[in-house]
Subunit: 157 residues, 2 copies
């Protein structure tokens, strides 16, 4: 069991080491509620050619694999930098209740990782976003949702 | 080459078929700008025990693998349901400029997939969110960012 500061130091060390491994300067550690380490993760976007592989995402995927569960509601997440909206949303989906971060999104912007741009975009109404989003609304799309509600074996989450 | 409506119908069919495969009712297709299909994806959260495996995330991962690139700036994304904030952020990170969706987040909420809850949370200041977020601010966290700026081999994105 380590202190919050020690765990944050480890997440920051992962971030620094990751630069030598070709990844971005971001590291993450997930522990249980007693601060026992479950998993770690580093940013592997450019190395693996996968824009979803931020440090937090990798740590969440690894922790869920180890736990054999898609929720981590008793866990703590330590990340070297404030989560971007993708990672923050994944933290909500994983039901992690407590997050510690080192650098802020302002710090990230200063080295050209502009998470704040996406935070700004998400707040906008769909039609004002830089991404063009078109709703093709018809009854056909509803079919899958109707079938879902009728499915007796479904796993709600 | 298919029409936008045909591609959306395929995404919806993937969503419906995915229920039988144990996943949630969500499907996604990514094409190039001429509407040639590059990849598909379905929600595999509960099947793979991975809360990040929404349909759009899987389709983005697959398209990037096929393209051997972490950006898809010439692509179109067709999803059976309006993207949640995690997927929308991943779409921004992947630089996809055009998104078509069928069901809305309101439709999703009606079958208990509450993306709108996360949209509401992201808009709040850190200290007002349901997730407790603590900033451990110290010089140590800055180290990785300083080393990143000094790294000559870095791949900016």
């Amino acid at each position: 069991m380590s202190s919050d500061n020690e765990l944050m130091k480890c997440a920051c060390d992962l971030a620094t080491e990751n630069i030598q491994r070709g990844g971005g300067p971001f590291g993450c550690i997930i522990t249980d509620s007693d601060r026992n380490v479950i998993s770690t993760g580093c940013n592997r976007v450019t190395v693996e050619n996968d824009p979803t592989l931020h440090a937090e995402m990798v740590a969440i995927k690894n922790a869920c694999k180890i736990r054999n569960d898609f929720q981590l509601s008793d866990c703590r997440l330590y990340t070297s930098c404030e989560p971007c909206p993708m990672c923050l949303s994944a933290i909500y989906w994983a039901r992690i209740p407590l997050v510690f971060y080192g650098n802020t999104k302002k710090d990230a912007k200063n080295i050209d990782f502009d998470d704040s741009f996406i935070y700004d975009e998400i707040k906008k109404p769909t039609e004002e976003r830089k991404i063009q989003m078109k709703n093709i609304e018809w009854e056909y799309a509803k079919e899958s949702f109707i079938k879902w509600k009728q499915c007796e074996n479904r796993i709600d989450y």
